[in-house]
């Protein structure tokens, strides 16, 4: 059973402040630590070192080692401690150095955290948050560059979110923490330095709700994380040619926002899914299928298209690494062909 917790409200001020994606995450964690004494941070090198990507940075100095805990180099052990702590009343935020290393902790995430509420008849909850730096583009090669959203999205009992902006990085992390069940937050490594206006104080971004980042009438692109930005760049270029692309930021892989996607495809009749994970059996397959099964089917005016990661481990060579995942030019080409009825 989870202990009752005392939550100190930090009221939203209505103001915004420019901060980076990493700063926004740190801000969310600081607010969580301030307002809820049961929140603890765990992970390898998140204390004195400040985290593999310097996201926790100085939080250990501000909140002390009882609340910002370095865990041993054992993802399975650390994740197990986090799940156990969540079961017994704490709200841990567990950071993996790279989402790739979550493969070492699958037992705790998939077989324990995701299952216990169900297997114990609703008598237990596991309000843990796993933060996972993900994605390619940093030259970190095959074992440090993967995109596992679809893996975890396949597991009932988990929620999976992918913020693409500093504002969402903070809002979705706080929403993940407020959620009574385990939530995986995929943070894209290339976005950590991205700046944006972020509301100060406490707020949450709803899990399971996509965001329309650009409206358009000719083609719908559903993208997530870094791909949202590449899609927006492609859309801006295509707008010069008179092609109006609607860009949907998926934000949440599980649960997925069917309504927003269906409404958009009914409007445009053309769908392009862009995601960094391996193309086959990926998030785009799910989106394609849900459209094919929905009332939007009768509005399709072209075959659904997917742009996903190559069917290969992410290469170390920078050119090959770029070629292995969708880039702006790829998105532009496919969206243009879709809009022109050439697909």
């Amino acid at each position: 059973m989870n202990a009752q917790t005392q939550i100190t409200e930090v009221t939203p001020s209505g103001e915004t402040r420019e901060m980076s994606y990493a700063e926004a995450i740190r801000d969310a964690m600081a607010i969580a630590l301030d307002r809820d004494p049961t929140v603890v941070l765990m992970g390898e090198d998140i204390g004195t070192y400040g985290g593999a990507f310097q996201v926790t940075l100085d939080l250990i100095d501000r909140y002390g080692p009882d609340r910002v805990m370095d865990t041993p180099i054992s993802e399975l052990g650390g994740a197990g401690v986090a799940v156990g702590a969540a079961l017994t009343g704490l709200k841990p935020i567990f950071e993996f150095q790279f989402s790739d290393f979550a493969a070492l902790a699958m037992e705790q995430i998939v077989n324990q955290a995701a299952k216990l509420r169900y297997m114990l008849g609703g008598e237990a909850a596991v309000p843990v948050v796993f933060r996972m730096p993900a994605g390619s583009g940093t030259g970190a090669a095959a074992q440090h560059s993967q995109s596992f959203e679809a893996w975890f999205g396949h597991v009932p009992g988990l929620k999976v979110v992918q913020p693409s902006t500093p504002e969402d990085a903070k809002g979705l992390l706080l929403a993940a923490l407020a959620d009574p069940d385990p939530v995986i937050v995929f943070e894209h490594k290339l976005l950590y330095k991205m700046k944006g206006q972020v509301p100060t104080g406490y707020y949450t971004t709803p899990i399971g709700k996509a965001a329309i980042r650009r409206t358009g009438s000719d083609v719908t692109i559903v993208a997530s994380a870094i791909m949202v930005h590449r899609a927006l760049e492609a859309a801006a270029k295509l707008a010069e040619e008179g092609i109006e692309v609607e860009v949907i930021d998926l934000r949440s892989v599980r649960p997925i926002d069917r309504d927003t996607i269906i409404a958009s495809v009914k409007k445009t009749g053309k769908l392009l899914c862009v995601y960094e994970g391996v193309r086959t059996l990926g998030v785009g397959a799910e989106i394609s299928a849900l459209i094919a099964e929905s009332e939007a089917f009768d509005y399709l005016d072209a075959p659904i298209q997917r742009l996903g990661g190559a069917e290969a481990p992410i290469p170390y060579n920078p050119d090959l690494e770029r070629a292995a995942v969708p880039q702006k030019a790829d998105i532009e080409t496919v969206a243009r062909r879709l809009a022109k009825g050439e697909v």
């Binding site: 089917f297 009768d298 009825g341 050439e342 697909v343």
Partner: protein, 445 residues
């Protein structure tokens, strides 16, 4: 004896028609000549008049149904006349609904009602490719997809194709209510204004070298439809509407060279790399000129009854077609186009007139006829150009061409392949599209 109401042939290449709507309900009286039902063809929606006065009974074809040309769709009875049972055994009694899909699937299942067959036909052609939204829109509008040509890859019918067809149907319905078919119509005005804008070009996507199509005088790109059906489905097509024709802007013309120059400009824009080029009649002359001006951009040249190879031309027919303001005055001239006079029905003339409903377009074409064919003579000579053409060249001419005599083909040098089709007039691509397509296929290989 009741009067049979049949599906008329309004299009030269028409084998079936889609019944769009009945204007008269079963059991209602109708006067001879009154609008009885609408049909849809590739080109237009057409009103069909009652062939006799009487009471409409035994409607055999419902809206949306595809019916073979000549098949009965209903019967007209005199007042009080006893209704005779339809001879159930004769195939003509039920409308010969064209079951395009799965011919072996249901050979004359006795219980098959027209509506069941409709479901099969509506969008079920085995090789018909259409997007879901195109299928839905066609279904909602009672439009048969089998009558449409798709602009998408491998001829896939897309939303825009259905919307164009629907817009055309609407425009035709509007035009049909205008007094165009009334006996007295205003003649085309002398004054017309040239229009700005690019020539209208449509494409069909596919794989390989595209075929560029240039239609003839007083025609437009929709005239290629029968030939397009006979050509391989994945052959990419680029159709150019000549200025003052089809959906291109109206332009004044100083002479043939002016026309050739205008088309070369469009050709440069649309032809990426060498293409196959095909022209008919005046379009043949233009294609020949394009090949002469852009020899490296033309892979093969094909000419159907091309103009420009001799002085003789049926100027009366050209002027008559350009001037005609009613279907009645257009029909006799159209009949000169084909070898068989029955190739052109009155309903076909009505459909053709609908495409020429704009008086300014007719005025512009009349002026063109004066510039290009003054006093019924071809004022331009392309025999020298034909000598110079380096691309392999194919010429097809109907032996019964009454507009341009086939003997003008003899102006061609020995390298040009010449095919003279028997029983064919001035429009081989409409009169015998299969043969023309086969010859083109071999030539373009």
């Amino acid at each position: 004896m009741p009067t049979e109401v049949i599906m008329p042939k309004v299009d030269m290449d028409m084998a079936t028609g889609t019944l769009a709507v009945w204007h008269v309900a079963e059991g209602e009286a109708v006067k001879k000549g009154a609008a009885l039902f609408d049909i849809e063809t590739d080109k237009a929606a057409m009103e069909v008049e009652a062939p006799a006065s009487g009471i409409l009974r035994q409607i055999l074809a419902q809206p949306g149904q595809v019916v073979a040309v000549g098949s009965p769709v209903a019967y007209l009875y005199a007042e009080g006349e006893a209704v005779v049972a339809l001879p159930a055994e004769t195939p003509s009694a039920a409308p010969a609904v064209v079951a395009v899909a799965a011919p072996a699937a249901a050979p004359a299942a006795p219980a098959a009602t027209p509506s069941q067959t409709v479901a099969q036909v509506a969008n079920g052609a085995a090789d018909l490719r259409a997007t879901p939204v195109a299928r839905r829109l066609a279904r909602e509008a009672g439009l048969a997809l089998s009558n449409l040509l798709g602009s998408g890859p491998r001829g896939r019918i897309q939303r825009a194709d259905v919307e164009t067809a629907l817009a055309r149907r609407e425009a035709a319905a509007l035009a049909a209510s205008a007094p165009v078919f009334a006996p007295a119509v205003q003649a085309a005005p002398d004054e017309w204004t040239a229009q700005p804008g690019d020539l209208h070009v449509t494409t069909r996507k596919g794989t390989g070298t595209p075929l560029v199509l240039i239609h003839g005088f007083a025609a437009d790109s929709t005239g290629w439809m029968a030939l397009e059906r006979a050509l391989p489905r994945d052959l990419p097509l680029i159709r150019i509407d000549l200025p003052s024709h089809g959906r291109s802007p109206l332009r004044r013309l100083s002479g043939f060279a002016d026309l050739a120059k205008t088309v070369v400009q469009v050709f440069d824009r649309v032809a990426e790399g060498p293409v196959h080029l095909l022209g008919h009649s005046l379009g043949g002359a233009v294609a020949l000129a394009v090949s002469d001006i852009r020899p490296r951009q033309v892979k093969t040249l094909s000419l159907l009854s091309p103009a420009g190879l001799g002085p003789e031309i049926d100027g009366a027919a050209l002027n008559g077609i350009a001037r005609a303001s009613t279907a009645d005055s257009l029909a006799p001239w159209l009949k000169r186009l084909t070898a068989r006079p029955d190739g052109i029905s009155h309903d076909y003339a009505k459909a053709a007139m609908l495409a020429r409903i704009d008086p300014d377009l007719r005025a512009a074409q009349q002026e063109w006829a004066q510039v290009l064919f003054p006093d019924g003579v071809q004022a331009f000579d392309l025999t020298a150009a034909l000598e110079r053409v380096t691309a392999p060249t194919l010429m097809i001419w109907g032996r019964d061409d009454r507009i341009l005599p086939w003997k003008q083909a003899l102006a061609a040098p020995g390298e040009v392949a010449l095919h003279l089709l028997r029983g064919v007039g001035h429009v081989p691509h409409m009169e015998d599209p299969d043969t023309v397509a086969a010859l083109l296929g071999r030539h373009m290989k």
